[in-house]
Every structure is written in C-alpha cells, then in structure tokens.
C-alpha cells in the first residue's frame, strides 16, 4: 500500500518535473527527458563505496547533459535518479521496482552481488537494461537474463587470479578462508578455495562473519591455534580492516589476502603497519590507471579521488548513453541490441560484451600494500600475468586513451 503510494508519487513528481521543463522551454527546441537510475548502498558500512559508484555514474550523466546530445531529433536531457539499497536485497528490490515505476531507460548498479542478482530479475522483467560497475558474482549473468551486463571481471576469474598469485608468491601450505556470508564474499571465497585445493594447498574449515562484523577476535583466536600460512577473506573493507588489525594484534604472522571489496587504501588506515604485505585483487584495472580525463573530471567535480569502482560506473553510464545515441532512441527495445554489440573506448579501456553480458577480456589487478599505500603489482588478463609497469608501458587503451564521446 505504502509502496504503491510512493510509486504514484514518484511518477507524479516526474510528470510534474517534466511538465515544468516543457513549460519553460516552450519556445526552445523540443527536449527528450531520459531517466537513468543508479543504485548503491548510500548508508551503512560501505556507504563510502556506494557514493563512489554513484559519483562515477553521476559524472557521466552530467557530462552527457553538458554535451547536449540529440536523440530522435530532440535534445536529450538526462535525469539522474540515485537510490540507496542499503546493501540489502529486500531494499534493493524495492528501489529497483521504484526505478521501474519511474520508467527509467537504464540502470547503473547495483554495487553488491547480493543486491544485483535479485534486482536483475526485476529490471529484466521490465525490459530495462542494467550495467553493474562492481558486482562480480558469476551468477548475475549466468541465468540468461536479457539486458544484464557488467563492466568488471567475474569472481571465477578473480578468485583463481588472486589464489594463484598467492600460491606462487607466498607459497603457503595451510590457508584459512573466511567470508562475510554475502553472495559476493562467499562466492569469491569458494572460488579461491577451489583454486587452492586444486593446487594441493590445505584449506582449513571455512569461517564466516557477517557484513557487519567488526569483532573477529574469536574467529582469529581459533585460527591462530591451527597456524595457517595465509588467510584469505572474501568481504568488504569496513569488515576486512578490523579483521587485519585484530589478526596482527593476536600475533598472527600469516600473509593476509583479500578480494576487491577490501582492496582499498582503508586497509592501511585501519591496520597501520600490520597491513604491509597484504595481497589483494581488484576485478578491473586500478582506479589510478583510468583515463586521465576521467580522473581530472572526477577530482574537479567531487573534490576527491575515486576509491574503487567509480571509473567502471562512469563507463557503465556512458555505455547506456552511447548505445542510446547510436540507436537514436532511449527505447530499450531499440538500444539494447546496440549495447549488446557495442565496442566502446571507456575510461577503463575498450569495452565489449560477450553473449552473457560479461565484459570481454576483463583485467584483474593484484595489489600489495606498502607503507599504507596500495601498489598495483600485476595485471592478469586472459590468464596471462603482466607486471604492472609493463602493462602501463605497453597499454595504449586505459592510461592514454580518452573516453570517446
């Protein structure tokens, strides 16, 4: 009941807003209002990452408005509808329905796999394309849903990448694997465990926390008794930071290794010198390797640097806009086939999709932490490992190229 009221209100507000715009520009050339949704957790433990994702998409939309793109013979006015899914699948579905009711043309999001997977059913059912800039769980694109895309790599690429790097460099005999019991954390931890076991490394019984756990002492004390050489955690930085800090306090000397959710500079802040030697992966190129044009524009607009996946949500929004431009229509039936076959030079390099909606040849980056700074050390692409310096030197796409408009 309440929800339907909100839906009506949202539509009413859109109609009123659209109406106002038309009134004012009665004499100006006709405009076409296109709504683009963005969903990420804007409150709660990883609200900082959610804001980062939202900012990336917002920047793309603002640039598109400034560029006065014409679609279907009218000047396109992009409306940016940012929603908060609170990192919660139920709330995620509610806001997804809200965006559907508001008749958005496309959605950038969600941030988490655990919210993206259920929400993708809603968008796909309403024929609204969605592109996530950060959800890495394979299941998102494995269910054959139409119009579901991602511009980052998958955890069945990321898990083996980080696990193999860990095996090759830390040479562990016994590894403890922990996750935060979310679709993302658990999925990634499973992939890592699979790779480790296949390589003959002993993996201890899985330990789990939640996406709100800050007290890891009990779990770590238990693990300490089993003496692992390495600890892998699948989860986000707001829980991974305390995990790392408390592990070092308890005197655990093992190598810690995290996935992309906890591969941020926050680790150095939380764990201090204990974070040195951390090995972690991101399911794409590092934010600092995104195009300079994007980095400058982001810094200028938001007065801060992108944290993690802002370059990817920026590209995701631009992909939607570019596909609409090429199809000369904001109607998903017309621009979705274009999006499926797109070849786009984005802030994170060339982007095209396979038939599932996954990014072709997605990069994985391995980082280590030194003196509180995350340093990219290797890029893994199509199973090949390249040293980061070599990647930057030989790559023409991400660092040098600028997003084509």
């Amino acid at each position: 009941m309440i929800r339907s009221h909100f839906g009506v209100l949202a539509i009413a507000a859109t109609v009123v807003l659209a109406g106002c715009g038309e009134d004012k520009k009665a004499q100006a050339p006709a405009t076409l209002t296109i709504a683009i949704g963005s969903v990420a957790p804007l409150t709660g433990g990883i609200a900082h990452l959610g804001k980062d994702n939202e900012n990336g998409a917002r920047l793309a939309v603002e640039e598109a408005n400034a560029a006065k793109i014409r679609i279907g013979g009218k000047e396109a006015v992009f409306q940016f509808l940012a929603e908060d899914d609170q990192e919660d699948a139920k709330v995620g579905n509610t806001v997804a329905q809200k965006l559907v009711d508001a008749k958005v043309a496309g959605v950038v999001g969600h941030l988490n796999s655990g919210t993206s997977i259920p929400a993708s059913n809603i968008y796909s059912g309403a024929n609204i394309p969605m592109i996530t800039g950060s959800a890495t769980n394979p299941e998102l694109t494995e269910r054959g849903l139409k119009g579901v895309f991602r511009v980052v790599g998958r955890d069945d690429q990321q898990g083996p990448a980080v696990a193999n790097y860990l095996i090759a460099n830390a040479k562990p005999k016994v590894v403890a694997v922990i996750d935060d019991a979310t679709a993302y954390g658990k999925g990634l931890a499973n992939e890592v465990e699979k790779t480790l076991t296949a390589a003959g490394v002993k993996v201890l019984a899985r330990e789990q926390g939640t996406n709100k756990t800050v007290d890891w002492k009990a779990v770590l004390t238990k693990l300490k008794g089993r003496g692992p050489d390495a600890v892998f955690y699948g989860g986000m930085d707001s829980t991974g930071g305390p995990l790392l800090k408390q592990g070092r306090e308890l005197g655990i000397k093992a190598v810690f290794s995290f996935g992309d959710g906890a591969c941020t500079e926050k680790m150095g802040e939380f764990a201090g010198s204990g974070a040195d030697g951390l090995l972690c992966s991101q399911a794409g190129i590092p934010p600092q390797a995104a195009s300079k044009k994007f980095l400058d524009a982001y810094k200028k607009r938001f007065n801060t640097d992108p944290i993690l996946y802002a370059p990817f949500t920026y590209d995701a929004a631009n992909l939607l806009i570019d596909a609409m431009k090429q199809a000369d229509s904001a109607d998903a039936a017309k621009y979705l086939p274009v999006l499926q076959k797109i070849d786009f030079a984005g802030a994170t390099g060339r982007i095209s999709f396979d038939e599932k909606g996954d990014r072709k040849d997605a990069e994985m980056t391995i980082f280590t932490m030194k003196g509180g700074k995350l340093l990219p050390i290797a890029i893994i692409k199509s199973g090949k490992t390249t040293k980061y310096e070599d990647f930057v030197a030989q790559s023409t796409a991400p660092a040098a190229d600028v997003a084509k408009k």
């Binding site: 409150t43 900082h48 330990e207 007290d215 002492k217 238990k222 930071g241 926050k266």
Partner: protein, 307 residues
C-alpha cells in the same frame, strides 16, 4: 587450553563494553519503563567526538595518553548534553502518553542522530587513530593487549562508581525512590523530572566512555556502529533483568563471553555444520533459554507491570 583462555579474554573485553552500554538502557528503563533505542547512537557520538578531538590534537605533540584523556573528556560532556536534550525534547513531553509513543520517538531520535553523524563525519568508516602504542602481554599462552586491560579496568571502575552512586548517595536514593514509585517520590519532595534527566545524563556519560573504548579497541568508528552495539547491549540488559543495575553488568559480561566462546567453538562442536557466523544465533539461543526459565532475567525481580 591457551586458546580457551584467549577466547575468555576476548569475551570479557567485549562483555565489559556491552555491560557499560547495557547500564544506560537498564537505568532509564528502571525509572520510566522506556526503552531508549537511541542509546546506541550516544555511544557512536561519543566515539565520533573522540575521533575528531584526537585527530585535531595528534599533531600538537602532547603526550598520547593526555590526548586520549582530553578526547574522552570532550566526548563525555557532549554525550551528557545530548542525553539531556534527548530527554527534554523527545521523551519528557510524552511522559503521560501511552508507552508505545516514546518508544517510537526513541527510534526516531536514533535515526536522526545517525544521519546527523553521517552528515558531520561522512559515510566513511573512520580509522580511529592508534596514538598510544599497543603493548601485548603474554601469559599461559594467551595474549592480552594494553587496550583490553584498560577496557576491563575502566569499565570495572565506572561500574563500581555507578553502584556507589546509586546505593550510597542521596541522589542514588532519590533515583531508586523515583524508580519505585514516581508519584510517592514526588510527594516526598523529590523532583522526578530532575532525577529522570540526571539518569539520562549519567547513562550518556557511560555510553561516551564505552564509545571511546570500543572505537579504540576495534580501531574503527562509523556512523552506523551504534545500532548493532545498542541492540546487543539491550539484549544484555534483558538477559540480566532489565531495570536491574547489577543485572546489566552480569548480562553484558555473560553475553560477551557466550558470543566469543560460541564463535570459537560452534564449528568444532557441530562438525563444521555451523560456522562462526552463527555466533549471534548461539548468543540468542542462550538469551531465549534464560528468558523461558526466568522471564524477568537473571537478576530481575518478579514485579507486576506498573500502570
């Protein structure tokens, strides 16, 4: 055995924090039968104020211990003021209202405080500065850090101080009298409104200290940190018998130890069928078991519901 001792130390530290926060719930409930759901947010504000003060003073070259004491010295009055304002604005006008009304305003205050903190201190999880070097001491194979020792010592001292205040001073007598029967206490010349406001203020001071302790223990402060902690502390208060001050202390420590042992051993006991993420479930099973047999909590008295 050494791992068992370590788990008990972990649990006692956590429990001491729970106990400090639980006291705030139980004192307020004891006096006006209100569950002040915004109490967890007071803990958060205490941590955040201390975070800002430490951040501002860290470059000044003062001794680290002095900086932490100044930070706590700023957090306590801010939280006390907050506790007073909260009572004055959101609860006192509803004193005669049905009991659900102040419960809802409490939830409202909690949401407002959280978002206020989000606006002031940003959405980022903040790394609480570790300016005092943490020393670790080893005994019997277990490790105890100086932060853990400090938490245990400070919370013991604060709880002893509170017990002395409530059971040994005129103010404490007035508080207990008001809790027993506000009307009659009023007839005896006790200003019930003043006593109730003071209860909020004292609870908020304890919450401020708990906030500083929990933030420095985990090294993280976040605008949403209060809700989870508040919920746990509320359960600890119920476990011990809500309204009963020694009960809150016992409930807090017990809940902390049960959680730590649950997380540490639940996997082994169930053949890894349940992992450590079931530690909360484990803690709540204990809570339910206690409440089934002792509905008024471990130390709660069986009293008829007052009108």
């Amino acid at each position: 055995m050494d791992i068992f001792i370590q788990q008990v130390i972990n649990g006692l530290t956590l429990g001491a924090v729970y106990a400090m926060v639980a006291l705030g719930y139980t004192m307020v409930y004891g006096i006006i039968q209100l569950i002040n759901f915004a109490h967890g947010e007071v803990v958060m504000i205490g941590a955040m104020v201390a975070f800002s003060v430490i951040g501002a003073l860290a470059p000044s070259g003062l001794p680290p211990l002095a900086i932490v004491l100044i930070a706590a010295g700023c957090a306590i009055p801010v939280c006390m003021l907050l506790g007073y304002v909260m009572e004055r604005v959101a609860y006192r006008p509803l004193r005669g209202a049905p009991r659900l009304a102040p419960l809802i305003t409490a939830i409202g205050v909690s949401i407002i405080l959280q978002h206020l903190a989000m606006m002031i201190w940003s959405r980022n999880p903040l790394a609480f500065p570790q300016i005092i070097k943490v020393e670790s001491y080893h005994f019997a194979g277990a490790t105890i850090s100086s932060v853990q020792i400090a938490i245990l010592a400070i919370s013991l001292a604060m709880m002893a101080g509170l017990a002395a205040l409530v059971y040994r001073t005129r103010l404490g007598t007035a508080m207990r009298a008001t809790a027993h029967n506000p009307q009659v206490a009023g007839l005896m010349g006790i200003d019930a409104n003043r006593i109730i406001a003071l209860t909020f203020v004292i609870g908020a001071a304890l919450a401020a200290v708990a906030g500083v302790m929990v933030a420095s223990y985990y090294g993280i402060a976040h605008y949403a940190m209060g809700s989870q902690l508040g919920l746990k502390a509320f359960c600890a208060a119920v476990l011990g018998g809500i309204g009963n001050i020694p009960g809150a202390m016992l409930g807090g420590v017990l809940l902390g130890v049960v959680e730590a042992l649950g997380a540490g051993y639940i996997g082994d006991l169930t053949g890894n069928m349940f992992g450590s993420n079931y530690q909360d479930v484990f803690a709540f099973i204990v809570l339910i078991a206690v409440l089934v047999f002792r509905p008024s909590g471990l130390l709660g008295e069986r009293v008829g519901d007052r009108a």
